[in-house]
Subunit: 391 residues, 2 copies
């Protein structure tokens, strides 16, 4: 059977392994550490540095396809591998659009995809001009390396904008700015695409963010019109095709007055697609493996009317109750909640796991997912349910 | 998080690993070989011999619970481990009933569970007496070590019975006989039970056997009356409690004129429970881990009206088409079929994998599962569908 080499050792690689196992495969991993989320659960692990060409070469040797759980592998190394005949999916020509927010927006504007008004910011003067253009509604972004809201700023005044831009440019951070939208909510449209060009879309989900971090995903996005859902799916498919994306593509969207604007692209399984593990015929992890191997894609039909994913994020201080005990409390109260833990050590704000809950009613399903996800870090039932009742 | 040590390296251990990963755990494995089905996909593998106490000791050191993917670990070794404080689940006191068909039937008769009329066969005279008692309707069985129909004989005449018994007793095979039933079909009632005594039952499935091997499982068993389904579930729960089973228990049943008789017990995940991976909120592999760790059990609700599991068995000669290509044909024709492969080398009659298909219509779902499972070994569509149509 085929071997997929995965560069990166986080939870995405870990969850690819569960899908690989059932397909009769097993992931070859290039990991930073043996105790990393993914390396803990793979048999074929090379410990190395993904910025080191020699390590990359060793990791991909003999693999049928090479893919990633993050966007940080140097493109020049990937190109060297491709030139040597290695099957890298997705390829740097696509990846650049997930690595650089300005490159992405420029390309999307070019293909006619809706993006908020934006500009490169290479000087304070650029920032001032943009500030005028958008009536002061500015969202400033680092072009590269942002994640979970790091690298995004909302200066309220032109003075604050000048200050932030000066400081960041001095530090050598390449910048762009876009119009700050008063959006109604955030959506995520996910598709998978194969090198042969087959594309399959999942239902569009609503993604709930707190402090720049996705905390919840609701599938399908409640109350989304079939028209807008169809548009968002088609948009994601067009972007995948136009940018030459292979594997899973997540298109993060803003919904504003019945229209959508693209905020961000991720070319790998994505937090807003975790619900597919328990709510969909084909999970994003299985689909990603199929896509990078150029296998036919699986059905993206939902298994139940509603699936809610809620992230388990490290709180400021870890609860005293051991995590294995917290897990048992959640299992006892909610026998149908699906717990997914990443084997990561505790850190405030860190994504440690998630839960998926399928159901028929959005409000009830969300409530259960939130309660369960929070208990897994806090050891407290947010609704006042008494701990001894779940003993 | 907790560590479960699994003794055995087959597909059951392999599939426990996929569930363990998502629970934030990872299996500790005692495997016979590094290229075995389970060892291929686990990070923490000890190569050793499960009949060797020293190897067992090393494998279970520090594990929160110890469990099995087969019934062949010597009970005296397990008792030694238990005496040393190791948490073995299920325990030998329960396991004996899955290891010896006569012990099992004697116990079941004692607790009032329905079993076909049976007797120990220690001499040809015993066999003759039993032959008379059941009007020649004899099923002769090796008490220990049978699997997939090996160790089961149906002598048609008293001469044949005498011959077979003489031959087997000479070889030192301990024997029993039971009444050969003209059953309507075979069912499987599966439950999980924790050391604390929580029990949860899955829907009762119909199991289709060919040559003593389970080839298909249909959930729920078509046309089974709610009364009989409830009886079968209750029976399985009673057996689990009375025998002190922990983890998953499969009770294989014969349905005869609206009644059930127990044929066989397995105290581990079972072939007739594979459908739960894709058709049920909680798979038997996750449930087994939860049960042996004494965690609360998960919901056993079905995700769809029908789920069919079909086994992929090695044919007499392997198809020329590489297996990775066969997989792609199946994926192309049936985007919603779930393929599970065990990473095993080809051998005629060997269980190499299975497929699960969920749906609404029993006949259509069975047809798809059978077509897919057969194509995975034969590279032929049994319904004449043309290969080039799935290119
Ligand atoms: N143009 C905008 N207008 C209004 N809010 C915005 C805009 N761009 C970003 N935001 C807010 O900031 C959050 C983080 O932005 P963005 O997704 O670009 O950052 P990121 O660090 O790349 O995050 P991720 O890791 O989710 O990709 C968004 O979820 C949104 O809430
Ligand atoms: N008493 C009986 N009457 C009629 N047929 C029987 C009887 N016992 C067994 N069989 C047939 O033989 C098959 C194999 O029997 P049994 O399940 O006991 O064997 P096994 O080798 O232990 O199989 P498994 O691996 O499925 O547990 C059964 O599935 C059934 O078809």
């Amino acid at each position: 059977m085929a071997t997929v080499a995965v560069i990166g050792d986080g939870q995405l690689a870990r969850m690819m392994q569960t899908s690989a196992i059932e397909l009769g495969q097993s992931i070859r991993l290039l990991a930073g550490a043996q105790d990393s989320s993914a390396a803990q659960v793979c048999a074929d692990v090379l410990i190395g540095d993904y910025t080191d060409l020699a390590d990359l070469r060793r990791a991909v040797d003999g693999a049928d396809a090479v893919t990633f759980d993050h966007e940080h592998v140097p493109n020049e190394h990937l190109q060297t591998l491709i030139d040597a005949g290695v099957n890298v999916q997705p390829q740097p020509a696509a990846l650049v659009h997930a690595q650089d927010k300005l490159t992405m927006r420029t390309k999307l504007a070019e293909i006619g995809a809706p993006v908020p008004d934006f500009a490169a910011i290479e000087s304070v003067a650029d920032a001032e001009t943009f500030f005028e253009r958008v009536d002061g509604k500015v969202c400033l972004k680092a072009r590269r390396g942002g994640y979970d809201g790091h690298g995004v700023w909302f200066p309220d005044t032109i003075e604050e904008l000048r200050e932030t831009v000066t400081e960041l440019l001095d530090k050598g951070v390449p910048l762009m700015a876009e119009r700050k939208l008063a959006f109604d909510r955030e959506l995520s449209a996910m598709v998978a695409r194969t090198p042969s060009g087959e594309v399959k879309a999942w239902p569009v989900v609503e993604s709930v963010q707190r402090g720049g971090i996705c905390v919840e995903a609701i599938s399908p996005a409640p109350g989304l019109t079939p028209q807008l859902a169809g548009q968002a799916q088609e948009l994601a498919g067009t972007i995948a095709a136009e940018l030459g994306v292979t594997g899973v593509l997540a298109v993060e969207l803003f919904e504003v007055d019945g229209r959508v604007f693209v905020n961000e692209l991720a070319m790998r399984p994505h937090n807003t697609g975790h619900w597919t593990q328990d709510g969909c015929v084909t999970s994003q992890f299985e689909q990603h493996l199929r896509a990078v191997l150029d296998y036919p894609l699986g059905s993206t039909e939902a298994m139940q009317p509603v699936t809610v994913m809620a992230n388990t994020l490290g709180a400021d201080t870890e609860a005293e109750m051991p995590v294995a005990e917290r897990v048992q409390h959640v299992m006892r109260r909610f026998p149908h909640v699906k717990i997914h833990l990443y084997g990561k050590s505790y850190r405030a704000g860190r994504k440690l796991g998630h839960v998926n809950v399928t159901g028929r009613d959005v409000a009830a399903t969300r409530r259960e997912a939130q309660l369960a996800a929070h208990f897994l870090t806090d050891a407290v039932w947010a609704d006042g349910y008494l701990a001894h009742e779940t003993k």
